[in-house]
Amino acid sequence: MAKVTYTRQERIARLHITSPTNGFGPETRCELNQALLQYKADNEAWMAVISAEGPDFAAGPSNPVPGSQRELRECFSLWAGGFVEVWKPTICAIQGQCRGEALALALGCDLRVADETASFTADFTGGPGEPDVLAAWLLNLVGAAKTFEMLWLNPTYGAPEAQRIGLVNRLAVKGDFKPLPPPDGRFPMEVMGTTIPVPAGDAITAAVRFAEELLLYAPVTRNFQKETALRSIGVPFHTAQTLELGPNPYASEDRIEGTRAFVENRRPVWHNR
């Protein structure tokens, strides 16, 4: 039985972890990696939402259960490939507990939407051969000092504190959907929100809604920005500045469409090229 399902709703790929205890064993990890590579290959999907079934994002054992060495190696190379080499956005929806290996998964996504029940704990135990993937993400998300604090003191952060330090982008709250801009006219200028209101206040609906909002804008730009941002990590500053990475938005048809739509006072129609 599949532990991870892949479906696509128009431009949004839905990667859903279905296993009832959300234990992150080697099988789940490998299936998730396969799903990410499927998203990478699926040109019709411009955004992915990663979610898990149940009241908790991860209720099962939070530390990695080692598989065979070979399985681990294959899976790990997929993990790096799946998370680090997919140059289009991934959004993670988090409810309930998000800890250990599941936290590493959530932090490997680009953006995170959490509901009010969400909590974040590293559950790092420093066992021999324990992967440091969590540390690798934390260093880039919350900085070195906070990384050691989370890994060694093991605090549990609620969603608002997680948002304050940079682990969570948006909070899912109960409320009516904020209407998307009308299909004609220019995009309104509104201050960037900190919440996503959805009727049930759940993280998954909110993450999908967030994806819909982002899909209003230019895909070539998004993908270029992700690739540039991630591939500049660990590159000396002045070198990173001159790197030519990913599709060039300025040379894209979408850029011409964007300007034309602005001048003609209408919504742009993007083609991802």
């Binding site: 680009d110 982008n169 960037m192 209003l216 230019a218 730009t221 270029f224 991630l230 040379a251």
Partner: protein
């Protein structure tokens, strides 16, 4: 030695002032929200060179005149006009034209090794290329009503000059959120995220920036240059390698160090009443 000289006339797009080692540049194209057209971009580039090459100038402050705008970015109308003049392959032609010529130095790109501090006093709308310019400065003081944003994604443009440094300007996830939503953030949010250093009341960003610039000016040029350079040279490098760089005492700091030592004996340090630093 205080020296205050201003160059200003109704036609001046960039009002410049030297004030005792501080170089103040005020963008003055309010009818276009300081969009970088009509010669303003060139004026900024000239100012960059002026700041770099004048050994009397230690710290620079960039701001906009008035309360409405810091800088709204590229002048799209003017760029469009130029693009149409260049013909059908307009988008690519503009890119090629910019590449084939001299790559203009700018605050946006932190390039050409400008190792003297630059402070942005954000007095209003700070968008797109204007926001990139502010993020290329070393510090940002932002007025309560002002907003910062990178809306390029809504038009299919890139914000390339900033995306490679999102992970250390603030942190990775917020940076992606800002460039993917294209929405402006409030002054308070900018400080929360670490993108700005301080919120001040409307009209107060210049005064605060000058205060900070004066604090910086208490240090010699060699100190400011050495430390800014070290920061930018050690980012994006593995820790062990960064620690192994530049282990000697920098010779050009030596004289400043010796001169400062005597004064340091009687420095008053906040919260340390025993300012007599003798055994």
């Amino acid at each position: 030695m205080a020296q205050s000289a201003s160059t200003t006339s109704p036609a001046t797009l960039l009002i410049k002032e030297h004030d005792d080692g501080i170089f103040i540049a005020r963008m003055n194209r309010p009818e276009r929200m300081n969009a970088m057209g009509g010669g303003l971009r060139e004026a900024l580039e000239d100012a960059w060179f002026e700041f770099r090459d004048d050994s009397q100038l230690k710290v620079m402050i960039i701001t906009g005149v008035g309360n409405r705008a810091f800088c709204a970015g590229a002048d799209l109308r003017e760029n469009d006009k130029k693009a149409r003049e260049l013909g059908a392959q307009s988008a690519q032609a503009l890119i090629d034209a910019r590449r084939s010529g001299v790559i203009a130095p700018s605050f946006t790109a932190n390039n050409f090794h400008l190792y003297k501090p630059v402070i942005a006093a954000i007095n209003g709308w700070c968008l797109a290329g204007g926001c990139e310019m502010a993020l290329g400065c070393d510090m940002r003081i932002i007025e309560r009503h002002a907003k910062m944003g990178l809306p390029e994604v809504k038009r299919g443009m890139g914000a390339k000059a900033t995306t490679h440094k999102l992970h250390f300007l603030a942190h990775l996830a917020s940076g992606l959120e800002i460039v993917w939503t294209g929405d402006p953030i409030t002054a308070e949010r900018a400080v929360e995220l670490g993108l700005a250093n301080e919120v001040v009341e409307t009209g107060q960003s210049m005064a605060r920036a000058v205060e900070i610039a004066r604090d910086m000016c208490r240090r010699p040029m060699s100190y400011l240059q050495y430390h800014k350079e070290r920061v930018f040279q050690s980012v994006g490098v593995p820790l062990a390698q960064a620690l192994a760089m530049e282990q000697r005492f920098p010779p050009h700091l030596g004289e400043a160090y010796r001169r400062g030592l005597q004064a340091s004996l009687t420095s008053k340090l906040p919260g340390w009443p025993g300012h007599q630093r003798t055994l």
